[in-house]
Amino acid sequence: MTDTLTSTPNDASRSDLVERPEQLPIRGTVIRAGSFSVRLDTRAVWVCCVLGALTVVIGLWSISVGDFPIPISEVVATLLGNPTDDSEFIVGTLRLPRVLVGAGVGAAFGMSGAIFQSLVRNPLGSPDIIGFTAGASLGAVTTIVVLDASAFGVSVGAVLGGLISALAVYLLAWKRGVQAYRLVLVGIGAGFAISAAIDYMITRAEIYDVQRATVWLTGSLNGRSWDDVRIVFLALLVLGPLAILMQRNLDRLDLGDDTAAGLGVDVGRAKLSLVLVGVLLAALGVAAAGPIAFVAFVAGPIARRLVSSPRACIVPAAFVGALVTVVADLAARRVLAPTELPVGIMTALIGAPYLLWLLSRQARTGLL
């Protein structure tokens, strides 16, 4: 490369040396106004728009079908405030909250997954693989079985469970800092231990609570109410913007801790806040709909592929998560209709093969 160092710019670029009107080929579109400037990833915006539109379409479809079909036109009319007698109850009370919770929870899981996968530098680092959602589930099951708690109580339990399990995994994986592969392995182990604890809780519980807990544990959107909608959208409203703000730090941490610190990132604080936001998103998702399997796990990689970006795509992952969950729920309701399956079974059908493929690939390439 000695030649490139000493070579002069070719003629084409030399003629531009004075003015240099050509843009640097940086990714995205730059919008400047006065001293303000924003860099927008155009492709990510497009991907989000398309995914969002698809989610709305599938959501409407999902609201319209069922034991009591309602034409799409009537669904739209109901949503716009002109309900008929039947549609008001079925759309407003039964099916709309279900779709909203599905989309919201999917978005929360998607963001959480994208954050953790980037922090751990491994797609296996998602909260549903490394035991954080299991921890949240244990917290939630405890509140259901022991305290017979309301939706709010279940959320508190899930958040506490998620935080405690995250802390435990982190401490167990600690050996002069946390190595990614140690975190993944310790997390998978912790996930099994927590599952065992959940099973134990269930054997000790009243039969009615057991039923409520088991359905919930598969990850179900059946019978979701506006309470659940509130939980998940409040979580998204508060944590979503925080996650977007933290994307910058996440991108810098991707260069390695030392490099990030050299660029002025307070590494410890940045990681801690990212972990907190990630755990809270996953835990509140769990609180609203149970640990829907693999949504967090698949959303990040799919988003990254669609946007074809070197960054962790937090926002696109939210849209992917929402779409995946809504589609999976529609499928779960209709595949064996009139029997409705829990959505978690559907997402597991998608996620499990991907997990196997990833495990075999990482085993081959020696990442794990």
Binding site: P25, I26, V30, S37, R39, G256, T259, D266
Partner: protein
């Protein structure tokens, strides 16, 4: 160029090196003791980085070179003592403020999969950016200048994965340059490169120093290259400074023996007229060297 070259006064400083340099030092380590968990790596070390010069830190493996560099960049909290930047204790300064004055290139930075050269270099602008100042015109100028200085402009839209080792190292240096700090700390930027690319990177470092007046601290493995390119060498062994000063003054067979435990002959480099260390080794020793006593050597 943003940085004023202030060579003249430093030539002066170097000429009376045997007295400690006057306070022309923005970055100072004051009796720092550094270590991880239980064991101490660097013990009560004092060091002043002369402004506007290239300082090379040399020494055997695991002598604390990288650890010292990390502490100078505020990445490591000293167990005792302190690092002072512009008269302020560096630990008390906000991370971002440090990053505007001092750039660091660690030994093994990680390039995210699929990132393009220009996007990576652009990340060097981080300490100058804010929430709604994500890509200002000065960001663009700085990135352009960094690409030009490292001759990586024509690689701008390539992904970092597809570059050769030498190109990649230049891109990383470009990222550190885009940070526009007068102080630049580089941890073994030539390791894993072949000899031509090593010279390439060191020439680049030399130009950054001469043309832009940047103060550069670089950890180097190769003693002879350190002598060639550095104004000031700091030889470490077991976490202590064994010798420090201009290469011509401090690099002699005694220093090499006490730092590396190696018998050598030091001659004049015919090209650069800096010390050239020629190792002897038992095969060519006349008379044969006594068997190395490991305790003494390491």
């Amino acid at each position: 160029m943003r940085f004023s070259a202030r060579r003249d006064e430093h030539e002066h400083v170097r000429s009376d090196h045997d007295r400690p340099a006057p306070a022309a030092s923005r970055l100072i380590a004051e009796s720092v003791t550094l270590g991880y968990d239980d064991h101490t790596v660097v013990n009560s070390l004092d060091l002043e980085i002369p402004d506007g010069e290239i300082t090379a830190i040399i020494g055997p493996n695991a002598c604390g070179k990288s650890t010292l560099l990390k502490a100078l960049a505020r990445l490591l909290v000293p167990n005792s003592g302190q690092v002072v930047l512009d008269g302020e204790k560096i630990q008390r300064m906000p991370t971002k403020e440090v990053a505007r004055r001092l750039g660091l290139l660690p030994q093994t930075p990680i390039a995210p999969e699929g990132i393009t050269v220009v996007d990576l270099v652009a990340r060097g602008r981080t300490p100058h950016q804010k929430l709604f100042q994500q890509w200002s015109e000065s960001d663009e100028c700085a990135v352009r200048a960094a690409l030009d200085a490292t001759s990586t402009g024509e690689l701008a839209d390539r992904t970092v994965d597809e570059l050769s080792g030498g190109q990649r190292q230049r891109v990383w240096i470009a990222m550190a340059l885009a940070q526009e700090t007068e102080l630049l700390l580089l941890d073994e930027p030539t390791t894993f490169l072949d000899i031509a690319h090593q010279i390439d990177v060191l020439d680049l470092i030399d130009r950054l120093n001469r043309e832009q007046g940047r103060t550069i601290v670089v950890v180097l493995h190769d003693l002879n290259l350190a002598c060639r390119y550095a104004h000031h060498v700091v030889a470490l062994r077991d976490g202590s400074i064994v010798a420090s000063g201009a290469p011509a003054d401090v690099i002699d067979p005694d220093t090499v023996r006490s730092v590396f435990g190696l018998e050598s002959m030091v001659i004049d480099d015919p090209i650069s007229h800096t010390p050239l260390v020629v190792p002897i080794g038992s095969r060519h020793a006349q008379p044969p060297l006594p068997p190395v006593e490991l305790d003494e050597a390491r």
